[in-house]
Symmetry: C2
Subunit: 247 residues, 2 copies
């Protein structure tokens, strides 16, 4: 059996898969891309994932993309430490959370992250170098995002993204008022897949997520941060990346 | 065992669940809401789903929302006619498709559908009646969409949505060039969850999806339409709804 992970370090969507592998204590070949150097757009990586995005799992030669899908795959193939509720009702609630993160929460957090950090990375690039860089980004939507990161996002969009973050934190707080973890009594992929986005909010938007504004969500963040798997992931990866810092 | 489905008829997201139930030949109590009369925003329905959206499944008193999640739930709980690939690699490919539909394809198709049909439904409503109606819509994003449907969507947005539809159809055609169904050799939830959106495109945007432009996608649409489960779903439901007609 060979298992390889291409990832961008312990932040954003890569962090979901790193946490899943660590909780399950699975060995794998680690390929960390330097996202500051845009290694995810290098031709050799785009051959692996034509979308030019991390993380990517390669299991016995078969390529699997999309972080949430990778996490469910790992849980099915390596079931010894289960990270999905056994009860199908709670498993459905887990998927409603991961869907919400992928369709809504991750985008608004990501925009504030790009606004804060992306600009810093590409702001001072000479125009010709920037255009050459954007030409190599495979996804249309990502090209648009890099242009916005360079020139600054529309203030109306940023306000709308902040509204969405407030909505997301309220939802998190409401669910954590009813139960210990997002999909019931056990730690699951719902928590793992929400953590990378939620953990960025106290820094990006403290008025929405603080001890005063969202005490249960903050306690939940700490509980995840203190897990030995989480500590192991961050201990093994001291090198910061813009996505880690910004999102 | 009691199983109830609240749905809006054989179109859009409701159609995914109706097709899944029909393929599996599962009996259930049918609650069809009249979406033209906005029954999904009635207080008694919002008690069931605070988001005011169909479909909703109630299984032995437990409420499950989100059409894609409902389909996976049904396949897990009623496994006799499997609709998810057994091989976890292909199951991951199935989820990549359903994610793509939920995050991308359904939104661009839906905007053209709302532009075509939504306007017709709310265009002639007196202002006070329209505002009273919008006040009752639970989701902020849906309120915005109803306003756009009444006043017309921004042409730049419509052009962008058409670009996304072209991209989606090309992806569909590419995958169906490589294999018979979207997630391998067997009909699966990837096909079922893509069909409601894809089947609206030849009507909404024939230049993107026709025998000439996308022959394999068109043949795939016909193959799904000819399945006995699909015919049964449409035969049992002659009453059109705006979402069916528009999307």
């Amino acid at each position: 059996m060979t298992l390889e992970l291409h990832h961008g370090g312990p932040g954003a969507n890569s962090l979901k898969v790193l946490l899943t592998l660590a909780e399950k204590n699975i060995d794998y070949v680690d390929h960390r891309l330097n996202l500051v150097r845009f290694e995810q757009h290098e031709p050799e990586f785009v051959k692996i994932n034509p979308r030019g995005q991390v993380p990517v799992l390669i299991h016995d030669g078969r390529i699997i993309t999309e972080s949430t899908v990778i996490c469910e795959y790992l849980d099915a193939v390596f079931p010894a430490v289960p990270l999905r509720p056994r009860d199908e009702y709670w498993r459905a609630q887990m998927r409603i959370w991961t869907k919400f993160v992928d369709e809504y929460f991750c985008w608004c957090v990501s925009t504030l992250g790009w606004e804060a950090m992306g600009k810093r990375v590409v702001r001072d690039m000479p125009e010709a170098a920037f255009e050459a860089f954007v030409a190599r980004v495979p996804l249309h939507e990502q090209k648009v995002k890099w242009r916005n990161a360079r020139h600054g996002f529309d203030p109306a969009l940023l306000a709308e993204e902040r509204r969405k973050i407030r909505f997301s934190v309220e939802k998190l707080e409401a669910d954590l008022t009813e139960r210990k973890w997002l999909a019931g009594d056990e730690y699951s992929l719902a928590d793992i897949c929400t953590y990378p986005m939620a953990s960025a909010v106290p820094r990006l938007m403290p008025e929405a997520m603080s001890e005063a504004a969202a005490p249960r969500a903050m306690a939940w963040l700490r509980a995840i941060g203190e897990r030995s798997a989480t500590r192991q992931v961050f201990a093994g990866a001291p090198r910061p990346t813009p996505l880690k810092a910004g999102n």
